[in-house]
Symmetry: C3
Subunit: 358 residues, 3 copies
């Protein structure tokens, strides 16, 4: 078993490198899986990711600027295209091949800039997430968020894979009210090829005030409410939370108009072994969706996440004090445990592969 405080991440996987709107002609420095990366958009509008270190004197390329030729180092002008080739050296004509820098394969779609951190020969799209709602602004208006967290990425995943934390961490906000009711909601967990999936159902309950406000449920109406979460290793949790009026058959078809419906993409790209970039996209599938409403919803969710972050960051610090000490699993940990097992297997397989290759 790996150390929980510093679980490594598999290298042969797609990681969120940035949101599309963050990648512009102004170079963006971001450390990913312990590597300094610079993201930029070339003059043709193509997103690229290079190691953030000039081959000449090890200056960060993110201090440079995009020119017609590519990304120009800000110190003495060496210039690199999006494939990492050195295409210009001031004052000399021949360019030695070792002047190139490492390039990361990039896929840009649905608002995400995905980076492949492993061996380019092994590119495999199993870890490339499909999140079509980002492209459907009319029905699923979206807000993008990013936070820097001082914790191992899996602490974020675990936080999301056990919702019994809601009436505790969020006891003063969204988790107020019937504590044990929330803890003991029905939960169906199933292992998947890429991770683990669960859905929690609360049938025939009175909708929470925020749901009423967002979806416009009539007074006295009861609803069937669900919380669906799927962990897709290594760094993603896909969330769909909603409610339909009882009797409308939510269990058979959740995709009906007139209810409460919210999708959240959660991704935690490792920065170092003990820190990560937390990306989230919030897609509001409810009726009420003026710009102001969506901004407000985003702000409320942001505030809720801040409560979680306080916990996972302090959990990290506490884990680091004595990382080898055993912990105790409880009954509610079923989905969380499966998620960790999945990533442990993935990391172990990659280590084994690396050993075999030596």
């Amino acid at each position: 078993m790996h150390n929980i405080a510093t679980l490594p991440a598999p290298r042969n996987a797609w990681y969120v490198g940035a949101w599309s709107h963050e990648v512009t002609e102004k170079p963006l420095a971001r450390t990913i899986l312990n590597e300094r990366v610079v993201l930029f958009r070339d003059r043709a509008g193509k997103a690229a990711a290079l190691e953030d270190r000039c081959s000449h004197r090890a200056t960060p390329l993110s201090l440079g600027e995009v020119t017609e030729r590519g990304l120009e180092c800000g110190y003495h002008g060496l210039t690199f295209n999006g494939d990492g080739d050195c295409v210009f050296i001031p004052g000399q004509d021949s360019i030695p091949p070792q002047a190139c820098v490492r390039a990361y394969p990039v896929v840009e779609r649905q608002g995400f800039v995905w980076l492949w951190t492993g061996d380019p020969e092994r590119i495999d799209d199993a870890t490339l997430i499909d999140w079509p709602w980002n492209d459907d602004a009319e029905n699923w208006p979206v807000r993008y968020g990013r936070m820097h967290l001082k914790c191992n990425y899996m602490l974020v995943m675990e936080n999301l894979m056990d919702l019994t934390h809601i009436p505790y961490i969020h006891r003063k906000t969204i988790g107020g009210g019937d504590q044990m009711g929330q803890v003991n909601a029905e939960m169906i967990t199933k292992r998947t090829d890429t991770g683990v999936h669960y859905i929690r159902w609360m049938d025939g309950i009175q909708p929470p005030p925020t749901y009423v406000k967002a979806a416009g449920f009539a007074e006295g109406v009861k609803v069937d409410r669900w919380q669906e979460f799927e962990y897709v290793a290594p760094i993603t949790v896909l969330q769909w939370t909603g409610a339909l009026e009882s009797g409308r058959g939510a269990r058979e078809n959740r995709d009906q108009d007139g209810g409460f419906s919210l999708r959240i993409y959660h991704g935690a790209t490792p920065e170092t072994d003990t820190s990560c970039h937390y990306y989230f996209a919030i897609n509001n599938g409810c009726m009420a969706r003026s710009e102001a409403d969506n901004d407000k919803l985003f702000q409320e969710i942001w505030n809720t996440f801040l409560e979680d972050i306080d916990f996972v960051e302090r959990q990290q610090a506490c884990l680091e004090t004595d990382p080898e000490r055993p912990l105790v699993d409880i009954k509610h940990d079923s989905a969380r445990i499966q998620a960790r097992r999945k990533i442990e297997r993935m990391v172990a397989a990659e280590s084994a592969m690396a050993v075999a290759a030596e």
Copy 2:
């Protein structure tokens, strides 16, 4: 000999964990002897100290809250009583024994919350200090202070065990005036079972202005002044400073009305090997003792301590640069040297005991 910059502390001893008034139903995180501790007061009013790490997922328990059952973890609700037993796990009935957390024996009295950091089988009250003046508010009104210091705890003890620093460190405040007179005052040092004791006498001197103001000495009166300090290993210095009008027999009986009389408890509980919590209780035994007078006295002493702290923290930094390099003892170091010898013996004995036990 141990490294002065990082002298460890004996574990089998009582340490000040907090002042009584600091321990409430709101959990209090404090690192003591390199361990994360959470202090809290249960619903029955009893002070308790647990390791600040939930057995479930290593979240600090200090993020939780006190309930009827005990201290509830703020992440998923596991609850612990003051003995560290896990008394509740949401969603399950049976509680595995390994779900408990470590509890520290606690003694609360005279305004102190004492913690035993060692083996509970070896509890021994030799290091539990008696400071009855904190319970005698009428005659000895008290003010409590605490500072966080970036130095090994023994640097604080040493500072107090050699008062020749007063005309130097405090040259611009309380140590102004006759420098060599202060340096060369009569000093009687004696070794004790628990450390070392000294008393300095200045007979027939003109009382300092603060003494006159506090004790109301008539104009022209001469006094016999004393400074009594006792180091009680590992972390305490007990101070009694005062003056009586000459001729009243101060040397035979210092406990008379109408003079200047001030007692200070000093305790430096190690936080880490290179930092400590400095606790002090200031008991004013003088005539003048309105609330405002006592506040003012406290403030003056606080400011004086700030001058010392500046030195011991920088001394620490300097020691850390080259901790093995020898130092030079001088004549005035007699009490300081005995104090260090006492703690060195105590630490060595405990190391030997640990080795023997292996």
Copy 3:
């Protein structure tokens, strides 16, 4: 080859310890080549440098004060003269020889306080720079600067030994305009006994606006412009930048009235292996030299240096990530490479000497 991120400095050399005006009766703490040093001026006005650590209890002497006897420790009063001898211990008459502290040989001249950090037996003035312009206030009014940099000292030297950075780092300030013209200026490099020297010439060019303003060139006049830089190992670069009206024979004699002429002393004394103190003296040899003009010039140069510092500090951070990884030399690196070879040889020779001595 040494690690570029942490190149050590030769100990047997003179280093700038401070500017003369910084050394006063108020002790000045400064870390030099990883050693804590205190600089002060005794009552007779003589500058001295001692290790910043009292022999008694390892308190920084920089917390003390200068008395008639020397530098008095602020903790318990031990006093040291400029040779490091302990000359007073309160409360005792005999002074043990081991109470002394290390003294650094000091030479103060031309506004510099030079320190010898190596073996006093090996003092050799080859590394003592002559900068007479600091003593010629009438013709070369001077401004002194100092910055603290988080990078190895040689990154500063390298920055100065390759001016092709100007149209890149300073592209928005002094390096604007004809980028390739600046990159490809004629450059004559020659190795010297103490380092490397180069001069760049731009003949018959239109003078830059700042030159016109400072030197008062008539409209339409063309100038011959030079940039002369000499690296003197270990920590100095001597700069002379100027321009004379074309036809006045600048190449034969640059020291003529009526042109633009600016000398800058650059010194980068290592603080630690990864930080340094950057000292610079700016001597303005131009006609226009009111106090205000000189202040303004200083401010402009200061701002330019800030641009360089941003680069070298980030280069340092980037180098530290993977210090062993190879870099690629380019054609314009000729002077830079010679400078590094010189210091590498010097450091290697000293290591060899140290090994031989063992």
